[in-house]
């Protein structure tokens, strides 16, 4: 039986790796069959597509921080509530409240469900300027 602290460690390793732009550690947190669901489109994203998206963010975002992390472990997974703070390349600082529910198998995330509010997008993404 997996101990709570092992799940907590996985949770911290996952979000810390994104903050540190450590793509290798990030990928190691996902099980081979991992899928990630998002509330804005209600669709499952494949492991490869999600990793590609996160790695693009590592290049386009100056800094990412997961603030005010509140984590609870339950049988088979964890839930983390946080505020993501992103400093974009143009200096814009965005933030959004997120709830991330993950299910764990063999020490890796096998399914994740990410809830956020697209109504907060103006506070998260830099404003579009006319070219």
């Amino acid at each position: 039986m997996r101990k709570d602290w092992q799940t907590l460690e996985l949770c911290d390793r996952f979000f810390d790796s994104i903050e540190r732009k450590d793509a290798e550690t990030l990928a190691s947190c996902y099980a081979p069959e991992a899928v990630i669901w998002h509330s804005h489109d209600c669709l499952y994203q494949s492991r490869a597509d999600n990793l590609a998206m996160l790695e693009r963010g590592m290049h386009t975002q100056e800094k990412v921080r997961y603030r005010d992390r509140r984590v609870r472990v339950f049988e088979g997974g964890f839930v983390q509530q946080h505020t993501i703070e992103v400093t974009w390349a143009n200096g814009f600082e965005g933030r959004m409240d997120v709830c991330f529910v993950a299910y764990v198998r063999d020490g890796m995330i096998s399914r994740a469900y990410e809830y956020f509010d697209t109504g907060q997008v103006a506070a998260f993404l830099p404003p579009v300027t006319a070219s």
């Binding site: 339950f74 839930v79 997008v121």
Partner: protein
């Protein structure tokens, strides 16, 4: 409070709203932890116009002495107008 009791409390909470609001809380997925729960569900609603909408919502609840002390609700407000039929469409 056991995780089973927390789960039961959570079900009771949502059943209490169901009759009054003409809404249903479907596909509930509940995970309980030592001092609370996380529930994910699909909110189905039928408006007076006949419009039907659905919206996925996640709630993290904290529990003390058998009662909910705090709720954090994650709902996509960008989809709410469509849910309510205000944009003439549905989700």
């Amino acid at each position: 409070m056991t995780e089973g009791e927390i789960r039961e409390l959570c079900e009771t909470f949502f059943d209490a709203y169901q009759d009054r609001r003409r809404r249903t809380y479907d596909d509930r997925i509940v995970d309980a932890f030592h001092d609370g729960f996380v529930i994910r569900y699909q909110l189905h609603g039928v408006q007076n116009t006949g419009h039907r909408g659905s919206l996925w919502i996640c709630i993290v609840g904290r529990v003390r002495d058998g009662r909910i002390t705090r709720i954090d609700e994650y709902m996509d407000s960008g989809r709410f107008a469509a849910w309510a039929g205000a944009e003439g469409g549905g989700t």
